[in-house]
C-alpha cells in the first residue's frame, strides 16, 4: 500500500514538475508543463461533463417516452369510451323503440317502415330494421334488402341475443359492398311469455368517424378488429375492412394495455389494445412514430452549444491559470537560482577579499625588516662616514634586505595568480596540464579512498584557447562526482584525445554505481541531486553544463547501472572559430 502511494506520488510529481522528460513538441520544460496541465485538466473536466450530458439525454428521452405512452393510453381510453357510448346509445334507443311498441305493431311492415323512418331521422347511419320472432324467423323488415321470412334460428347471434338480451355483431359486407354491423335487442312480449328481437343494421361510417376522431400522427394507425383478428374498420397499413390483421393478438387482460412490441416485419413500436365493452371488438392502435426518440433538435443544438461553450470557457480558464501558475514556478525557480548564484558570488568575493587581505597582512613583516635594515644603514651612515670597518655589516644588511624583497615578491605574486583566475582568459592552455593540476588537488583524497586512477593523456594535443579556470572547475566537478559514485575502491580513468580539428575531448570514466536511464535526462538540471538532503546542492553539473555551453563546448554522458558512468567533456580548440562555423 505504501509502495503504491509512493508510486502514485512519484508519478504525480513527474507530471507536474517542469523537467526535461515529458517534453512536448520540443518546447522548453516550462511550456511543456503548461501544456501537460491544460491537457490533463481539459481531459479530466470533460469526463464528468460527458457523463452528465449522457445521463441527462437518456433520462430526458425516458421522460418523453413515458409521456408519450401516457398520451397513447389516454387516446385509446378516450376512443374506447366514445365507441362504447355510441354502442350503448344505440342499444338503448333500440330498447326504447321495442318497448314502445308491441310485437304485433312491430310485425306490421308498414308501421315498421314508419318507425324506421323516424329512427333513421334521429340516428344516422342506419341501414335497416328487422323484427324477428322467437323462432328466428324474420317477421317484418324495413330496409333495402329482401329479408322477410329469413330464418336466423341456426345463427350464433340469435342464440346469443336470447341469452344476453342484446348483441352487437362483427362487421360484415353488406348492401352495396358497404361494411355494416348489426345490433339486436331482445324484447319480452308482455304477458305472453315469449320474446321477439329487434335488429338494426348500421354502416360503419359513424364507427369509423369515432375511430378516426383520434388525432393521429402520420405514421400511426388506429382501427378495430374482432376476436379473430378481422379488421372491422379500415387500417392505414394493415389492410382494409374484413381483411385479416396480424396473426398474433394477445387479448389484453386489462381492458386497456399499451405495450412495446418488436416484430421484424412490423416496425410497430407501440401497440395499444382496448376491448370495447358490449361488443366483440378490440380497438387497436399501432404507433410507429416515436417522437420521443428524436429529441427535438432544438434541445440537441442547445446541448451541443452549451457543451462546446463550457469546454471552450473551461479551456481558456485553464490555460490562463496554468500560464499564471507555471510562470510563477518559473519565476520562483529562476529567483532561487539567482539567489544561489548571488550567494555564491558573495562567497567568492569574500574569499578573494580574505586572500588579498591575507597577503597584505603577511607583507608587513618582510617590509618591516627591509625598513629596519635600510634604516639601520642610514643610521650607521649618519653616525660615521667611515665605512671601511662596517663593510661586512653593511653587506650583511644588504643581503638581508635583498632576501626580504624576494620574500615580498613571492607573497605579492600570489595575488597575481589569484587575479588571473578572475578573468575569462583567452590564454592558450595545455589541457593535459590543466587536467593534471586538478588531479594534483585531489591526489590525497584519491589515495585515501583507495581509488585506482589511470591517465591516458594523448601527447601533442593542440593548445586550446579557453578559460583554464572554468574548464578546470568542470573537470573538478565531474571527477568529484566520479569519486562519490565509487565511495571506496574503484577505478577512474581520465583520457584526453582530439576528436577532430575543432574539438578536444576529456573523458572521465568510473566503474561505480552508474546512473539509471530515467535519471540520465535530469542530471544537468539545476537542483537535481540523488545525494541525500544536505549533501550537494544539485547545482554542480548544471553549472558545469552552463560553463561548457558558454565556452562553446559540451558535456556528454553515458551510463549503465552497476557498470559505471562515462562523462565526455568536449572543449573547442578555439572557441572563436567554432562559433563562426555556426555549430
Amino acid at each position: 500500500m505504501e509502495n503504491l502511494k509512493k508510486k502514485i506520488s512519484n508519478l504525480l510529481r513527474d507530471v507536474f514538475h517542469p523537467h526535461e522528460i515529458f517534453r512536448v513538441l520540443g518546447k522548453d520544460r516550462y511550456a511543456s508543463l503548461k501544456i501537460r496541465i491544460v491537457l490533463l485538466d481539459i481531459f479530466l473536466s470533460m469526463i464528468p461533463l460527458f457523463i452528465v450530458i449522457t445521463i441527462s439525454y437518456f433520462w430526458f428521452q425516458k421522460i418523453l417516452k413515458d409521456d408519450f405512452y401516457n398520451q397513447v393510453n389516454w387516446e385509446i381510453q378516450n376512443t374506447k369510451q366514445t365507441i362504447e357510448f355510441f354502442i350503448d346509445k344505440k342499444i338503448s334507443a333500440l330498447r326504447l323503440t321495442s318497448s314502445s311498441y308491441t310485437y304485433e305493431q312491430m310485425s306490421d311492415t308498414k308501421l315498421l317502415n314508419e318507425i324506421f323512418k323516424n329512427f333513421k331521422r334521429e340516428y344516422g347511419g342506419l341501414v335497416d330494421f328487422g323484427v324477428i320472432d322467437s323462432t328466428g324467423i324474420q317477421r317484418s323488415y324495413s330496409g333495402p334488402y329482401n329479408l322477410a321470412g329469413k330464418d336466423y334460428s341456426k345463427q350464433d347471434w340469435f342464440h346469443e341475443v336470447i341469452i344476453r338480451s342484446f348483441y352487437v355483431s362483427d362487421v360484415f359486407m353488406g348492401y352495396r359492398k358497404i361494411p355494416h354491423f348489426a345490433i339486436a335487442v331482445k324484447s319480452e312480449a308482455a304477458g305472453k311469455g315469449t320474446f321477439w328481437i329487434l335488429r338494426a343494421t348500421i354502416n360503419i361510417e359513424t364507427l369509423q368517424k369515432y375511430v378516426n376522431a383520434v388525432n393521429q400522427r402520420p405514421n400511426d394507425d388506429i382501427f378495430i378488429i374482432n376476436r379473430e383478428g378481422i379488421l372491422q374498420t379500415p387500417s392505414k397499413f394493415h389492410g382494409d375492412v374484413l381483411e385479416q390483421y396480424a396473426a398474433h393478438i394477445t387479448i389484453p387482460r386489462q381492458e386497456v394495455s399499451v405495450q412495446e412490441i418488436k416484430t421484424q416485419s412490423d416496425d410497430c413500436k407501440i401497440c395499444g389494445f382496448a376491448t370495447i365493452q358490449h361488443s366483440p371488438w378490440i380497438l387497436v392502435t399501432n404507433i410507429r412514430s416515436a417522437p420521443y426518440a428524436k429529441i427535438p433538435s432544438i434541445f440537441r443544438n442547445e446541448l451541443f452549444f452549451i457543451t462546446m461553450m463550457s469546454i471552450l470557457l473551461g479551456t481558456i480558464f485553464t490555460i490562463i491559470m496554468a500560464n499564471m501558475v507555471v510562470n510563477r514556478i518559473k519565476l520562483s525557480d529562476h529567483e532561487r537560482e539567482e539567489a544561489i548564484a548571488q550567494s555564491e558570488h558573495a562567497g567568492k568575493m569574500a574569499s578573494i577579499g580574505r586572500l588579498a587581505a591575507g597577503v597584505a597582512h603577511e607583507i608587513n613583516n618582510p617590509l618591516a625588516i627591509i625598513n629596519e635594515k635600510a634604516g639601520l644603514m642610514k643610521d650607521l651612515l649618519e653616525v660615521s662616514g667611515n665605512l671601511e670597518h662596517q663593510k661586512e655589516k653593511f653587506l650583511g644588511l644588504i643581503n638581508g634586505i635583498s632576501d626580504s624583497v624576494t620574500r615580498c615578491r613571492t607573497i605579492t605574486h600570489r595575488l597575481l595568480g589569484f587575479s588571473r583566475r578572475m578573468e575569462i582568459s583567452q590564454d592558450a592552455i595545455d589541457i593535459n596540464d590543466a587536467v593534471q593540476e586538478i588531479i594534483g588537488f585531489l591526489e590525497k583524497e584519491i589515495l585515501y579512498r583507495g581509488i585506482h586512477l589511470e591517465l591516458h593523456l594523448q601527447e601533442n594535443l593542440p593548445k586550446i584557447i579557453t578559460d583554464k579556470g572554468q574548464v578546470q572547475q568542470v573537470f573538478l566537478n565531474i571527477i568529484n562526482n566520479a569519486m562519490d559514485a565509487l565511495k571506496e575502491n574503484g577505478d577512474i580513468t581520465v583520457s584526453t584525445y582530439t576528436k577532430d580539428d575543432q574539438f578536444v575531448r576529456v573523458v572521465i570514466k568510473d566503474n561505480g554505481s552508474g546512473i539509471p536511464k530515467e535519471n540520465l535526462k535530469h542530471i544537468f538540471e539545476p537542483f537535481y541531486s540523488t545525494k541525500e538532503k544536505g549533501k550537494g546542492t544539485g547545482l554542480g553539473l548544471s553549472i558545469s553544463y552552463g560553463i561548457m555551453q558558454k565556452l562553446g563546448g559540451a558535456i556528454l554522458v553515458e551510463s549503465e547501472v552497476n557498470t559505471g558512468t562515462t562523462f565526455i567533456v568536449e572543449v573547442p580548440v578555439n572557441v572563436r572559430e567554432v562559433r563562426k562555423g555556426g555549430l
Binding site: M349, G353, R354, I370, M377, L381, N386, I401, V405, R421
Partner: protein, 221 residues
Amino acid sequence: MNYENEDNLRLLQLQFIGKILAGFTHEIKNYLAIIKESNGLIEDLMTLGKTAQNDSEQYLEITRSIEEHIEKTNTLFRYLNRFAHRMDSQLATFNLNETLEELIALVTRFANQKKIVIGKDFQEDIPSIYSNPSLVQFIAFSLLNEKIKNLDTNSTITIQTAAADNTVKIRIIPEGNFLEGNDDTPLISYKNLEKLIQQLGGNVLQEKGKETLITLGMHPQ
C-alpha cells in the same frame, strides 16, 4: 526572466577585482624592484667603488630612496587591505570617501599611463552610508575607466562627494578633450549601470563627455 545578464555583471565585477589586483601587483613589484636595485647599488658601490667622504652622501641618498619606496609600498598595501575588506560582506556601513580613496589609489597607475590626474573633492564630514561597498567601487570604477579611456592625455578627472537630504552624491567630473570616434564599449552598459544603481536605491545621470552624477540612498532598498 533571464538572469544571464546578472551572471554577466557578476563576472564583470570579478574581472574588475582581478584587474585591480593585477595593477596593484604590478606597481608593488615595481617598487620592490627599485628597492632591490637600490640595495644592489649600495652593495656594488661598497665592493667596487671608493669609500670617500662624499660617497656617504650618495649612500644616504640611496637609502632615502629605499625608505621612500618602502613607504609607497606600505601605503599601497594599506589601500589594498582596505579594498580587500570591502568584499567581506555585500552590505555594510562604510565611509564613502575612504572607499573611493582606496579605489583611486589603486587605479592611479592606469590613469598615470595617460598622464590623467585624478583629483579628490570630498565632503569631509560625509555621513556613513549602509550599502554594498565593493559594488559602489565597481560602479565608480567602470565610470572612471570609461572616462580615462575616452579622454585625451593630460586631462583631469575630479571625484566629488557630497551629502544632501538623505542621499550621497558622487560626481565624476572630467576636464579635458574627449577623443573623437573612440568607441570603447564601457565595462557595464548604461542600462545595466542604471539597474545596479537602482538596486542600491539610487540613480545615475550621465551625458557623454560630461560629468556623471551618481546619487545613492543612505540605505539600500
